[in-house]
Every structure is written in structure tokens, then in C-alpha cells.
């Protein structure tokens, strides 16, 4: 089971070697999320319109290992942008991936950029 989690490592923008062209901006609902398939990875991508920002993280929840984070709800915890897992409402910072209301493992976070109305996610090899 751990092998699912070990696929995902937080990637800094400076470490990016591949910008994966995921989908058109219009495919993501405002203030909502969707899941992107990249090779054997599932990445949750969020269009946090209220903050004017995009975020990406692993789609698998570190708690029960279900592929569900993209179906979660966006929000903020005293200013920190967060995502609440739909299964048990664990919340995670979208900036650091840290679990904000418990001590489940952190989510791996990936950089996102928008170019010509397309969403790109950054990966490093």
C-alpha cells in the first residue's frame, strides 16, 4: 500500500524538469477541483478563483489511500488555502500539504502554471 504514497513527492518549481500540459482552464470549475492523469500518477488540481491561484497535489488521501482529494472542498484556515477530503473531512494546506486538523501525513504538492489558457503541472524526474 505504501507504494501508492511513495509515488508522490512534493516538487518545487525550481526542480521541475517537465511541465505537463494537463487540460484547458475551462475544464476546471471555479473554486473547484479535478483530477489529472499523468503517467501512473493521479494529481488533484484546484482552481482557487477566490484567491486567483491554482494548486496541485496528490489525489490519493494519505489517511485511507483513496483517490478522492480532487473531489474535496476548497477553503481557508485563517488565510491558509486548504482542501478538505470528502471522506472524513481531513483538511490539508494547499501550500505545504500539511494536515491542518490532525496528524495524517502531508500531501505532496506540485507547481502549476497557466499558459495560453492551458493548465500545466510541474514534475521532476
Amino acid at each position: 500500500m505504501d507504494s501508492i504514497l511513495s509515488k508522490y513527492k512534493t516538487t518545487k518549481e525550481s526542480e521541475v524538469t517537465t511541465w505537463f500540459k494537463a487540460a484547458a482552464v475551462a475544464d476546471f470549475s471555479e473554486n473547484g477541483g479535478a483530477c489529472v492523469k499523468y503517467k501512473n500518477k493521479q494529481i488533484a488540481v484546484f482552481n482557487f478563483k477566490r484567491k486567483g491561484k491554482w494548486y496541485a497535489c496528490q489525489n490519493v488521501c494519505p489517511h485511507k489511500l483513496e483517490m478522492v482529494i480532487s473531489r474535496g472542498m476548497l477553503g481557508d484556515d485563517r488565510g491558509i488555502p486548504k482542501i478538505a477530503c470528502p471522506m472524513h473531512k481531513k483538511t490539508f494546506s494547499l501550500e505545504t500539504g500539511k494536515n491542518l486538523n490532525g496528524d495524517v501525513d502531508a500531501l505532496a504538492i506540485y507547481p502549476v502554471k497557466i499558459e495560453n489558457d492551458f493548465v500545466y503541472i510541474g514534475f521532476s524526474n
Binding site: D27, K37, E66, R71, M73, G79, M87, N101
Partner: protein, 839 residues
């Protein structure tokens, strides 16, 4: 200078040393400690943690240097073999003799190995010392190398056996628990709690075999299986024996101390054996004709022995020993405290069981319901600490004792234990983070914290399982109140209003979108608490379906289906009143077959189809809708079902057409969003086959019309609905129901069901009658109008969802691919699919 020799350096022997050196008078004594094990005393209770990192040091009670610093001579790896009472000396295995003035026997116990044929074979272990665990790990590696699907059994389904079972599972072996009794944890659990626990453990992947008497261990040199009787075998590659303990009392026997019939060295309440200079403590001591296999009593014994030796003779062992225990398995809550089984001569038991959720609670109280005597908690032991506190502090119970079991939880209506403020400061409130009541209240009093969230970040209370949250909230609020500070029941950090206040504001300002709400009366970007709450208010105000703003809907509303354990969803078409044609039944069957769904008939007289993948939902619903079905709103805080009996249509007792009326009511209120789910029932006569009084609204046919009952529910807090009106006709019944439901929707707190709402309503059912029937608030015309608007605005949201390409988009698992989620794993049970278990 006098010499005290301590035989045995286990947890209790160590505790004796620690307590002893804390005393000023200890300077006049020399302490000499013998331990048979190679290392200084370690924390046996947390032995299983050794599997995580094989770090024996981390388990040490104190390092060797500690003994030196305190002038204790510790001799490990040396067993004491004899006591010569007349000479007051002992001898050790290395044939050395030492003299003593006082002797303390803390030799603990050893695992009991039943005399089963073949028990000496390789691959059979006991579970007591670090060496045992090292042996198990090495052997497990060996058998796994040969066979990746190797199996291990644990003999004994007690507290320790279950811990051992989890340990072998974590080692990557297929775990089996074999228990001789017909139940698990026979000393702590009754038969019903055992079966609830069994279901939970099986779901985790532990295989449980009860009522099995092992007659023989199979295999040549190494174990290959266990035989229980003729033709009843279990193939296993390893066995851990956890069949109870036997006191290590051999020293007492050889020197003729008084012994128990079944072993153990007899002690009095000073921990003295039959020889006043020899004390026995811990698991070797037989006190009150009992061996106590827990550390807490052992520690108390150590303390008593210290005081007695130092002549503080008034310190005696408690007459009653608390045997409360909480199983420390990850993922399973089990606790047993006080007297878990109690004869009816002593008091009553209050029981609650919900196998669907793996919950069982039993609370034993005295005949006058004033005193807590003990209990059992399975599935949710979050109340263990507080119940245990009540027991230990002998506190008087609240009037409604049943609330200790079923709890007025809904709507966060405070603690069932009277006020949490009545607890002593030392009471542990948050068991996950070990936070006491004193820590919470003091932090508020000295102004380190000014709110619940401050307390949560400072003390970490509530951040674990969260079970203590209602209590912590109450402590924070009560303490703030006592300091004269204002406490507001606000929704969350984004909206500083109660639900009822926000409902009023949104209605008056005619706000229709979430962003507008946030901008005009909230702050920040919202969260998982306020978003669904605002969505629910919009639905109640405008009957907006969940399609309108899917991103603020609770996950289940967003996808118009309940998310299940493995990330798949359930599909529940509406079957009003439970009446369905054979043709439609066939459609459901065909759909279930086509999409390989697990089907089950629900208590609400309809059919749940489980295991649909997100991307399959639109196609499944299209087929159902084409056949004339509608959404059943099983996912929403909204009307679920109106259950009915066949009534006068078929039943010879029937007084009226209960099915027709149930269908009419269900169709009228379908899609109605409310603070919590709503259920109804209609029975054709007072025999009440539809269980209508267990619903939020229930209608029963009587001579001359219908009786209308409101505010009942089943579930965790069962309540019978109360009579609102008698002998009324269909039209009046609907009128009263419109008013009642709308009044509830307007004024209830989020997630508060009608029963809890009525509890809170000043004046209760009598007041409700005044409002709904006599219109004392002069709002009925308005309530009826609002309800009629909602009824007219009804749309099947599934139909709406699949007819719109844009809103269908959210049902694909990936934005950039049509692939399905390949992470979903099903297994089969009784010819249907179910999710593979978690971990």
C-alpha cells in the same frame, strides 16, 4: 544499613525502585535488584512498538545509569534460584548468595502454554519479551521468503492475543485468531460486543475463529497447521501463543510461602506474604484471590510495599482494584471498565448496538440510576475517559442516564454527562492528546487562550479523533461565560452568525450565490463547514438543486450520490411509499447486473445499489430515469422516504389506505432540503407495521381519520414521535405537516434532527401545537406559502444533471482522460462485490 533485595526487574520491580529512591528515608537502605532478562526493565505494555523500529532502548523504563545514580545495584542476566528464609539469604543461578533484611518478589508472570500435542515445534512463539519478538521477526522473514502468502495464527483472542494478531498482520503475514471461548476478549466483553468487535476486526483483515479447541499442532519439525477436531484444520506457518499468564511463583513454592490453589504468592493488603519480611508485588502476587494482569494495580502494589517497608503502615492496597482497560489497537476502539458484566441483582444495563457502524455500548448503573458501575464500549470509545472519570470519582449520574449511551449528540447540544464543568481538574478530556480539564480551563482563565481554536492549537485537544470536541467546546464556553465573556454560537471563522441568523440575512438580502454571501456578510474564502451550510439554506429558500453551485455542496450532494468506503458511490432511486411494479424492479435488477453493483434492500423500503464508479453514475442514472425513476436524495440532508404498510388495500386490519397516503406525502416533500435528513411513515392502523412513530413525521390511521406524530427517529438516539393532532383528514394532515416542516427548516441548527430540535424548543410539543395548530406566532400563512413554493419548484436533480453536458463533466474521474480510477479494488462476498478492506 539494611538491605532490600528485589527479585525481578520488570515494570513493577522498576516502579518499586523508583518510588523507593524518591523517599528521604531510603538513604538508610541498600537496594539490590536481580533481573533474569539481559536488559534493564522496559515498557512491556508498549512491547508491540518494538515491531516498528526494533529499538529496544526506546522502551527502557530508565537507562542503566539511572540505577547507578540512585545507588541501586542492578544485576541483570542472573536468575534468583532459591530463598533461605531462616538464614534470610537468596542464591542465584551462578551459585552466589546474598543476604537480605527485606525481600521483594516482583517476578511477574510467564505466558501460559497449554499442553497441546506438538507445541514444542519450531515456529511457535509466546509474546512477552523483546527476545520473543526478535524471534518472531526472524522467523516471519524466513517463512515469507519461502511463501509470500504465509499465514500466522494467534492462539487466544484476549486483549494480548488481538494485539499479537495485529502485530503478525503488520509483519505481512495472513493473520488468524483462534479462540477457545465463543467470544473475543472473554474477560472484558459480553457476547454482543464481541460480535461487533469481530466484524470490525474481520473488516481490517483479521480472520477470527471462535469456539475452537486446538487438539494438536501439525507438522514435522516446523509447524504447518493446527488441528481442532476431526476434519477441522487450519494451515499456518507460525503460531503465537497468548493463552493467558501464569505467575512466576516458583521461588515462593520452594521456600514454602503460602500459595494460591491455582498459583500466585498470597499477599495481604500490605503486600506482605506469609513471611512478614518477604513482599510480593505485580503479576506474581495473589491479592484478594486474584492475579492482576495490568500495570496500574502493579504500580499501586509497588507503592504500598515501599511505604510498608518504610513503616508508613497506614498506606494499604485498595480493597477494590480497577480493571478498566482500553485496547490499544490502531483502528479499533474497545474499552471495558468497572464491572463490565453485572448481575441484575446489582443494577441495570443500558445497551446500544449498531452493527452497521460497528458500534456497541453497554453501561451498567445502580438500581436507582445514580451510580455508574461499569460498561463496555466498542467502535467508539471516545467516552471511555470521561465515563472512567465518573466511575473513579464516584460522581452522581445525570437524570437521563440513557444519554450516557445514546448521547444528545445531534446539533452539539452539549455533553450527556451533566456539565463537563463538574468534572475534577485532573479528568482527562482528550485521550488522544492527554489533555486534562484543568489544562483547558486554566488556559482560558489566564487568558493564554480566548477561543476554542486557540485551545485546539495550544493543547492539541480535539485534533486526534475529535471525539472530545463537544466536551472541549463546552468547557471553553462555560469558562468564558464564568469570566463574563460573550460566547457566540457561530458557524465558523467565515461567518460570525448562527445558522438561523444567517438564514434570515440571506433571505432578507435575497442573496443567491455563495460568493455573494461571503462578500456581503462573511470573510475569507469559506470552508467545508460554511459552504454546505449556505448551500442548504439556498436549497431551503429557493429549492436550488445541488447542480447549481456544485463546488459548495457536501461531497455527497456534489455528486448526487453517497461516497462509499472505497471512493465509489451508491445509487438510490426513489420508490415512493415502497410501492414498485415488477417492471421497474426488473429495471433495477438489470442495471445492477450490467454495472456489477452490490444491491441491498434498505430499511426505508427501497433498493440501494453500491459500488458505482464516479464516471458510471450518469449512464446508470440515464437508464433509471428513462425507465421512470427519479433521484431518491439518499445523499442529501433532505426527505429520504415515507415508509408505509400495505394498509386497507390488502390488510384485513387496515383502517385506511396507508400506501396511497405515503406516496402522496413522499411525492409532496421529495427534494426538500432541510437541516438534517427527514423520514416519514404511514401505518394503516395502530398495529404500526410501518414504524411511523420512529420517524420525523408519522401518520397512523385511526377511527375517524389520521393521527399525526412528529419528531421521532431511529438511529443512534431512538425517540418515539409525539402526538401533534388526532383524527384529522388528509388535507389537514398535509397542512399541519407543511407548517411543521417549514418551521423546523427555518429554525433548527445545522445537522439537528427534529427530535433534538423539539428538545430545544421552549415549551416542547405543547408549544409546537400552539404554533402549528393555533398559529400563535401568526406565521402559518407564510410557512404554507413557502412550502408550496418549494413543492412547485421541485426538479429531479439527476435528470437535470445528465441533461446538461456542462454539469455532467464533473462525473469523469480525470479531466484529461476517459480512463477509470484503477485504484479501486473489489472483493466478493456472498456472490456480490464489496470494497477491499482498508489496510
Amino acid at each position: 544499613m539494611k538491605t532490600i533485595i528485589v527479585v525481578g526487574n520488570g515494570m513493577v520491580g522498576y516502579k518499586f525502585c523508583q518510588r523507593f529512591v524518591e523517599k528521604e528515608e531510603s538513604k538508610n537502605y541498600k537496594l539490590l535488584v536481580f533481573g533474569e532478562e539481559p536488559r534493564p526493565a522496559y515498557d512491556r505494555v508498549h512491547l508491540s512498538e518494538f515491531f516498528k523500529n526494533s529499538d529496544a532502548k526506546a522502551l527502557e523504563m530508565a537507562p542503566r545509569s539511572w540505577y547507578k545514580e540512585h545507588n541501586i545495584e542492578l544485576i541483570t542476566n542472573e536468575r534468583v534460584t532459591d530463598i533461605h528464609r531462616s538464614k534470610k539469604t537468596i542464591s542465584t543461578i551462578n551459585e552466589r548468595d546474598y543476604s537480605y533484611d527485606y525481600l521483594v518478589l516482583a517476578t511477574g508472570s510467564s505466558p501460559f502454554v497449554p499442553p497441546i500435542k506438538g507445541v514444542e515445534k519450531k515456529g511457535i512463539f509466546v509474546y512477552r519479551t523483546i527476545e520473543d519478538l526478535e524471534g518472531m521477526l526472524a522467523y516471519a522473514d524466513k517463512i515469507k521468503a519461502k511463501n509470500p502468502n504465509a499465514k500466522a495464527a494467534v492462539l487466544g483472542g484476549g486483549l494480548l492475543g488481538l494485539e499479537a494478531g495485529k502485530a503478525v498482520m503488520d509483519m505481512g503475514l495472513e493473520p488468524h485468531i483462534v479462540e477457545f471461548a465463543p467470544k473475543l476478549m472473554p474477560r472484558q466483553l459480553d457476547i454482543r460486543s464481541s460480535s461487533v468487535l469481530q466484524m470490525t476486526l474481520e473488516a481490517m483483515g483479521l480472520n477470527i475463529h471462535l469456539s475452537k479447541i486446538t487438539s494438536q499442532i501439525l507438522g514435522d519439525d516446523c509447524i504447518t497447521g493446527m488441528e481442532f477436531g476431526e476434519d477441522d484444520e487450519l494451515a499456518v506457518d507460525m503460531l503465537v501463543i497468548s493463552a493467558g499468564i501464569r505467575p512466576r511463583d516458583e521461588l515462593g513454592k520452594t521456600c514454602n510461602l503460602e500459595m494460591g490453589v491455582r498459583g500466585g504468592i498470597v499477599v495481604n493488603n500490605k503486600m506482605q506474604t506469609s513471611d512478614p519480611n518477604i513482599f510480593a508485588i505485580g503479576e506474581v502476587a495473589l491479592y484478594n484471590q486474584m492475579i492482576y494482569g495490568l500495570v496500574a494495580p502493579g504500580y499501586e502494589m509497588a507503592n504500598v510495599a515501599v511505604e510498608q517497608i518504610l513503616k508508613n503502615t497506614e498506606v494499604l492496597m485498595s480493597a477494590e482494584i480497577d480493571m478498566s482497560t482500553k485496547l490499544k489497537l490502531i483502528g479499533v476502539d474497545v474499552a471495558s471498565f468497572g464491572e463490565p458484566f453485572m448481575p441484575t441483582s446489582k443494577g441495570h444495563s443500558i445497551l446500544f448496538e449498531d452493527k452497521t457502524k460497528g458500534l456497541y455500548k453497554r453501561i451498567n448503573v445502580s438500581h436507582d440510576s445514580k451510580t455508574l458501575l461499569g460498561g463496555i464500549l466498542v467502535g467508539d470509545a471516545s467516552d471511555y475517559n470521561i465515563l472512567h472519570q465518573i466511575l473513579l470519582n464516584n460522581m452522581t449520574l445525570p437524570n437521563n442516564v440513557e444519554e450516557l449511551v445514546i448521547g444528545p449528540r445531534e446539533g452539539g447540544g452539549g455533553s450527556p454527562f451533566g456539565s463537563a464543568m463538574d468534572l475534577p481538574d485532573s479528568a482527562q478530556i482528550c485521550s488522544c492528546e492527554s489533555v486534562t480539564k484543568g489544562q483547558v480551563c486554566n488556559a482560558i482563565e489566564d487568558e493564554t487562550c480566548v477561543s476554542f481554536s486557540d485551545i485546539a492549537s495550544l493543547t492539541k485537544a480535539t485534533t486526534g479523533c475529535g471525539g472530545c470536541k463537544p466536551m472541549v467546546v463546552e468547557l471553553v464556553n462555560q469558562t468564558l461565560k464564568s469570566l463574563g465573556k460573550e460566547v457566540k454560537d457561530i458557524i465558523c471563522e467565515h461567518f460570525e452568525y448562527s445558522r438561523q441568523e444567517l438564514y434570515g440575512i440571506l433571505k432578507i438580502k435575497k442573496i443567491t450565490s455563495y460568493n455573494e454571501a461571503l462578500d456581503s456578510c462573511g470573510k475569507g474564502d469559506g470552508c467545508e463547514i460554511c459552504k454546505p451550510l449556505v448551500a442548504s439554506i439556498f436549497a431551503s429558500l429557493y429549492n436550488d438543486t445541488a447542480n447549481k453551485e456544485d463546488v459548495i455542496q457536501d461531497s455527497n450532494d456534489k455528486f448526487l450520490a453517497n461516497i462509499q468506503r472505497n471512493g465509489t458511490y451508491s445509487v438510490v432511486p426513489r420508490i415512493p411509499g415502497g410501492e414498485i411494479t415488477p417492471e421497474k424492479l426488473i429495471v433495477i435488477g438489470e442495471v445492477g447486473k450490467k454495472y456489477n453493483l452490490y444491491t441491498k434492500i434498505t430499511g426505508g423500503q427501497r433498493i440501494d445499489l453500491f459500488g458505482a464508479k464516479l464516471n458510471e453514475l450518469p449512464a446508470i442514472w440515464k437508464e433509471l430515469i428513462d425507465a421512470g425513476f427519479e433521484s431518491g436524495h439518499a445523499y442529501g440532508k433532505s426527505l429520504r422516504t415515507v415508509k408505509s404498510c400495505v394498509g386497507s388495500t390488502w390488510c384485513r386490519y387496515g383502517m385506511d389506505e396507508s400506501v396511497s397516503f405515503a406516496i402522496e406525502l413522499e411525492n409532496r416533500y421529495k427534494g426538500l432540503r432541510s437541516p438534517h435528513k427527514l423520514k416519514g411513515g404511514v401505518s394503516g392502523c395502530i398495529r404500526e407495521c410501518a414504524e411511523a412513530r420512529g420517524k420525523d413525521f408519522g401518520v397512523i390511521a385511526v377511527e375517524g381519520g389520521w393521527n399525526l406524530y412528529v419528531c421521532g427517529n431511529g438511529g443512534a438516539t431512538p425517540k418515539h414521535a409525539l402526538l401533534l393532532a388526532e383524527q384529522i383528514d388528509n388535507e389537514t394532515c398535509i397542512k399541519y405537516l407543511d407548517r411543521f416542516l417549514m418551521y423546523y427548516i427555518r429554525t433548527a441548527a445545522p445537522l439537528m434532527r427534529t427530535a433534538a430540535w423539539l428538545d430545544k424548543l421552549d415549551g416542547g410539543i405543547e408549544q409546537l401545537k400552539k404554533v402549528v395548530i393555533d398559529d400563535v406566532l401568526d406565521i402559518n400563512a407564510e410557512l404554507e406559502k413557502e412550502m408550496q413554493f418549494l413543492v412547485d419548484a421541485y426538479k429531479c436533480e439527476w435528470k437535470e444533471a445528465i441533461e446538461n453536458e456542462e454539469s455532467k463533466k464533473r462525473f469523469s474521474h480525470f479531466v484529461n482522460s476517459d480512463d477509470e480510477d484503477d485504484n479501486i479494488v473489489f472483493v466478493r462476498m456472498r456472490e456480490q462485490v464489496i470494497p477491499a478492506s482498508w489496510e
